[in-house]
């Protein structure tokens, strides 16, 4: 009896992520959803610039590497080229909420029929731990060595809340993957985001509150706790927009 099998949509190759990094978990959830929906052969994924830049080597579907922050624009092109294809982007907080904010907001405003998986771990991982647009007030990073000071660099951006003000997007939900129940809930959300696209409903974004033990300077276990204690109070989980039932969280 097979109790567990690796998803087909995730290639059997070593991932380069640090110990305790949650990218592997989210990759697996996305791949499981692709498998369950039977869409691997018609799915095109867009990798970002950041820690998950090499996601193109990990997913078994066709993959495109985009310039930093431009994945929603590239996805728009791919989807418009053939609307019968399933197109998703996989982006971090620097990519999506800093340099690529315009592309994110406008893809959402157009209700572009794509799926966005947004990993928010409040730091730039790939370049060695700089302050992100989502870094918390007081958070120490390489470029906020005395802690993020809102007088100098403002406040962290809540992407789901920001986008929920737009008429356009179909579905916005924030999840996390720091525990088994949360991982299960995250998968349900990701599946909904892909199903929405297949049904032609439009733009779905799933924000995954994640960790970066390496650049947070914590053990993986403590990083999971830090998500619970520091991240979730500022980034509450939940559905921020669901046009299928008119839900907008206030």
């Amino acid at each position: 009896m097979v109790v567990y099998d690796k998803p087909h949509a995730l290639l059997d190759v070593p991932l380069h992520y640090c110990p305790g990094c949650l990218h592997g978990v989210v990759h697996k959830l996305v791949a499981e959803v692709i498998d369950e929906l039977g869409i691997e052969g018609k799915t095109i994924g867009i990798a970002p610039v950041g820690c998950s830049v090499m996601a193109y080597d990990y997913f078994a579907c066709d993959m495109i590497e985009a310039a930093h922050g431009r994945a929603p624009a590239v996805a728009t092109g791919v989807k418009r080229a053939d609307p019968s294809k399933v197109v998703f982007t996989y982006q971090g907080d620097g990519d999506l909420a800093s340099i690529g904010m315009a592309e994110t907001v406008h893809a959402a405003a157009r209700n572009e029929n794509i799926t966005v998986i947004f990993i928010n771990n409040a730091i730039y991982g790939m370049t060695g731990g700089q302050m992100a647009p989502t870094s918390l007030v007081g958070q120490v990073t390489q470029t906020s060595p005395y802690g993020r000071d809102p007088k100098l660099c403002g406040y962290p951006i809540r992407v789901c809340e920001l986008l929920s003000e737009l008429e356009g997007p179909e579905y916005l939900e924030r999840v996390t993957v720091n525990s088994i129940p949360h991982i299960r809930a995250a998968k349900t959300a990701i599946k909904k985001a892909f199903t929405n696209q297949i049904e032609g409903n439009g733009f779905s974004l799933i924000e995954v509150v994640s960790s970066c033990p390496t650049n947070w300077g914590m053990t993986p276990q403590n990083a999971l706790k830090w998500i619970e204690e520091k991240m979730l109070p500022y980034y509450p989980l939940g559905v921020y927009k669901d046009r299928s039932n008119g839900e907008v969280k206030k």
């Binding site: 066709d62 993959m63 431009r70 624009a73 092109g77 791919v78 418009r80």
Partner: protein, 350 residues
Amino acid sequence: MADKVLMKGNEAIAEAAIKAGCRHYFGYPITPQTEVAAYMAKRMPKIGGTFLQAESEIAAINMVYGVASAGLRVMTSSSSPGISLKGEGISYLAGADLPALVVNVQRGGPGLGGIQPSQSDYFQSTRGGGHGDYHMIVLAPSSVQEMAEMTVKGFELADKYRMTAMVLADGTMGQMMEPVDLNFEVAPAPEKPWATTGTEMKRKHNIVNSLSLVPEELEKLNIARFERYELVKRNETMYEEYMMDDADIAIAAFGIAARVSKNAVNEARKRGIKAGLIRPITLWPFPDAPFKKAATHVKQFISVELNMGQMIEDVRLASECKVPVTLCNRVGGMIPSPEQVLDAIVKASK
């Protein structure tokens, strides 16, 4: 005589792109190329194509990147400041070896500059424009008919060599109206087995990518790309020679400057001065051969440009500085008059 229609240069580009099988256009408003987008906005929905006004030039070129990845003919158009913004995306197109067409209807710069015609993006376009070692195929039309023909040629060459082709026009070319014959043959797009169209579970996944972290491999990719560029140089270099056989003075000019210069050459000939014109049609690859040949019999080249002297450097390189090369120019949206060019010719003949 074939059917001709009276069209603006910008409209001729748009209609020619449609004739070439382009069904995806992404743009952002900027003068003086606006008619391209306006034309596409009207036509594309009627023929099952996509016109999308992007949120920025950056987004537009990345939408182009997406459609090019999917293996379809795709274009964007802009004018000088907008092309700077597209530079990032054009570099990524080059790095990922994707075919696309970019139109630059140039205006005066730098910065916001003005909205009148210019050729001051010669360096930017012939040297690549963005970061990294790469080239675009740069086509310089000098009539509305050529605006259409170069657009079609651009799509064909882009597909053939997996490169970005640029139609480098200027505000005059974009805005002027001339009769155009749009009945031309178009080579169908080749098979694109590398395109990310979905595996259909029948093949290994395709990856469109410009990242290569191993220096030995990135070096090989760069060298292979430049070997392809050598083929482009050998096969696709285009130019026009006008009255060059016995010329003592040779004008070098492209686009609108070549049209003005032709008048000046005719006038000079009437006065008994043996003037001629070399008109590069591909600015990259630059036509070295006619300049090298002319350097054996002319006593001076005059580079006529709508900039502070950019192509003049290529004229000097191509002619190996064997004879003097002087500049006859106007800038900032001004166009040299035939009289100004004639004066330069007369001066050179003395």
